[in-house]
């Protein structure tokens, strides 16, 4: 067993691993991670996997729009959130709706969003920004949120989620620089899944992502992103550093998405089945399952009960999402606090047309 992981100001090249693919501990359990917590992590990962596969099927049936799957990245999605407080901010991408659910966003919201309904991004009381589709832009928002937290003394931490591709964008570098200069309580959480759509990591950077922090005076750590315990350890320490006024941390989590980039993508064009299979052998859920069973914390009966529960939960969310529809006038009502004359005019036009429609169409 290695020693307990620590986040330092230096770049740590070898990825931190606490739980091997065989489900054995490679480092002592980090403080705060007890049996209950481990089971909670496991339950969340199973729930997210079930959601993701259901969403993919819904998309294939035409019941969901284009969808970005995260299967394979559950350890990242779950364990980047569970060590946080409910009032900490997360700034997700289109692939981090798993993390959003863990942070308190109802499943039905996520489904509504991917059904093309803006109400899915209506998230009062949950400390998450809506997902960011433009790449890397949310890194700066996280820095701003962390800055506000510092200025207002709230003790909140902000987490920016992004992929390996995002590290090519100027916004990522600007965000790291601001965070370093102002020593802000922010966590840069990179899920390096080796591809930005079809473009491999080597086309994004000639140096490991983790090494980028040094140039900005930001601490950094590289973790096995399919190891829930390692991700949990890294994030909880980065959050503790942030709260202690020690500034930002970049976490590079090495992981893999099993599915396509989105449902509009054909991954067979740029990667091999063999590669996917190799990553499946490091699956985060199987890994923790093995450990829990070995420890006597989980068994076939609890698995069956969980699967049943999760199935019902996802089905209920699907039913809810499919029963809700935005009103046509919604497109006008939230552009400004008070709609300018031209929007009011256009809104009246749409309403009048809707009434004509109800009356059986015009002649």
């Amino acid at each position: 067993m290695g020693s307990a992981p620590t986040v330092t100001g230096e770049c740590v090249q070898a990825p931190l691993q606490c739980l091997t693919p065989a489900g054995e501990l490679a480092a002592p359990l980090p403080p705060g991670l007890d049996a209950n917590r481990l089971v909670e992590i496991y339950r969340w990962m199973v729930r997210l996997r079930a959601f993701d596969s259901r969403a993919l099927r819904l998309q294939r049936q035409g019941r969901l729009g284009t969808y970005a799957p995260y299967s394979g990245q559950e350890a990242c999605q779950v364990c980047s959130v569970l060590p946080l407080q409910r009032t900490d901010w997360i700034c997700p991408t289109y692939r981090d709706h798993g993390a959003m659910m863990v942070h308190g966003v109802p499943m039905a919201n996520i489904l509504r969003y991917w059904r093309g309904d803006e109400w899915g991004s209506h998230l009062p009381g949950v400390y998450t920004l809506p997902i960011s589709i433009p790449i890397a832009t949310q890194c700066l928002h996280a820095v701003g949120l962390a800055w506000a937290a510092r200025l207002r003394g709230t003790g909140q931490v902000a987490v920016a989620y992004f992929g390996d591709g995002a590290t090519s964008q100027g916004d990522f570098h600007e965000a790291m620089n601001f965070a370093g200069v102002f020593r802000l309580p922010v966590i840069f959480f990179c899920q390096n899944n080796l591809y930005a759509i079809s473009v491999p990591l080597a086309r994004q950077t000639a140096a490991p992502i983790v090494t980028k922090a040094a140039g900005y005076g930001v601490a950094a750590l590289r973790v096995d992103g399919n190891d829930p315990i390692a991700v949990w350890a890294a994030v909880s320490q980065a959050a503790a550093r942030a709260r202690a006024g020690e500034g930002a941390t970049l976490i590079e989590a090495l992981t893999y998405r099993y599915g396509p980039h989105t449902t509009a993508d054909d991954p067979t064009r740029y990667r091999s089945e063999d590669e996917v299979r190799q990553w499946q052998e490091r699956d985060p859920i199987t890994r923790l399952h093995r450990y829990l069973v070995h420890q006597g914390l989980w068994d076939a009966a609890s698995e069956e009960a969980l699967q049943e529960q999760v199935k019902a939960e996802v089905a209920a969310a699907v039913a809810e999402a499919e029963s809700l529809h935005p009103a046509p006038t919604d497109i006008f009502d939230y552009v400004y606090g008070e709609a300018p004359w031209y929007i009011r005019e256009q809104r009246r036009e749409v309403l009048a047309e809707a009434r004509v429609g109800e009356g059986g169409g015009h002649g």
Binding site: G65, T66, Y94, Y113, W114, R115, G116, D117, E118, I133, P134, I135, G165, A166, S168, Q169, G170, D171, A196, I197, S198, V199, R203, Q204, T205, T262, A264, D265, R269, Y270, H325, P326, P328, D330, I331, F332, V335, P340, Y342, I343, Q346, V350, E353
Partner: protein, 326 residues
């Protein structure tokens, strides 16, 4: 001649011009191995190799900024911005440098750069994938803006854009990427920039349009003829900057009744520009005020309300009715 879709014609145009001009290179996100997310560059990597078909890092400012240097340095870069919405991070390079390099250097340096980008809505994609911000780029002096409405024009306009010595923003209406097949010559040919096309002749009113809205206008014109015996002329601008003022004026003079149809939001859109041009030049010929049929002044909605936003045949018909029955 092969019958190609619009997106295939784009690919064909790139290949034809790359074959005859070794300075032409293609760069962007996913353009190589993947052949572009819409397959607009499919097969180019295999034919021209990795020095001419380049998957870049994910950075639009990087793509446009380096393409400016490549162009000044003697290459003919064709940069793909994956969706028009994502041109935003590259906006600074495009407007601060590409657009004004010729002017700043009094003609000593030019930027023969083409930026290709799928634009517009109608395919129910996720958020941030449906914008048509052509008016923004027409407002910046120094950039040409082109948008084809059919496969033949797509190839010819693209090759003309590559051969042009000024930066050209080449918008591809993705909604009609695969809407029709058309005979497209195999060789490299050009359709001149700055020239509109009369897509349908008519004497009663004019519909001025471009891109995916041309098909909608043609359909509305058919309906106007069927239902009212009104003959609507449909003018496809093809180049938005510089606009074919002669064609617009000639048609407005002929029919005296004009509706401009565009998918982009109305406020400060090109409809306003066209209406102003017409009233400044042929005011006394007008039988009715110029009408605009456009997208609404709201962010492009997500899929479930896309149809509320997009101008359709019914809305264009209402526009025709307005100018005809003024």
């Amino acid at each position: 001649m092969a019958k190609l879709t619009l997106v295939e014609a784009v690919r064909d145009g790139l290949a034809a011009e790359m074959r005859q001009d070794p300075r032409v290179i293609v760069l962007g996100e996913d353009v190589g191995v993947n052949g572009g997310v819409f397959r607009a560059t499919d097969g180019l990597l295999a034919e021209f190799g990795p020095d001419r078909v380049i998957d870049t890092p994910l950075a639009e400012s990087g793509i446009i900024g380096t393409a400016i240097g490549l162009a000044i340095g003697g290459m003919r870069p064709v940069a793909e911005i994956q969706f028009m919405d994502f041109i935003a991070p590259g906006h600074d390079q495009l407007v601060s440098h590409a657009a004004r390099m010729r002017n700043r250097t009094r003609g000593a340096l030019t930027v023969p750069l083409v930026i290709r980008t799928p634009s517009g809505g109608g395919i129910r994609p996720p958020e941030h994938h449906s914008d048509s911000t052509e008016a923004v780029y027409c407002h910046y002096p120094g950039i040409k803006v082109v948008i084809p409405s059919n496969p033949y024009d797509a190839k010819g306009l693209l090759i003309a854009a590559i051969r042009d010595d000024d930066p050209v923003l080449f918008m591809e209406p993705k909604r009609i990427y695969r809407a029709q097949r058309q005979e497209v010559p195999a060789e490299a040919y050009t359709v001149p920039l700055g020239k509109a096309r009369v897509a349908r002749e008519g004497n009663d009113c004019t519909l001025v349009s471009w891109g995916a809205m041309v098909d909608v206008c043609l359909e509305a014109a058919e309906q106007a003829e069927r239902e009212h015996r009104w003959q609507a002329e449909v003018l496809d601008l093809r180049t938005l900057n510089p606009m074919d003022i002669d064609a617009v004026i000639a048609s407005a003079e002929k029919t005296g009744r004009v509706a401009v149809v565009h998918e982009a939001p109305r406020q400060c859109g090109l409809g306003a520009e066209i209406a102003a041009l017409i009233q400044e030049r042929v005011f006394l010929y007008l039988q009715a005020p110029v009408v605009r049929v456009t997208g609404y002044d709201v962010p492009f909605p997500l899929a479930s309300l896309e149809d509320v936003y997009l101008p359709n045949v019914r809305r264009v018909m209402a526009g025709i009715q307005k100018v005809m029955q003024f």
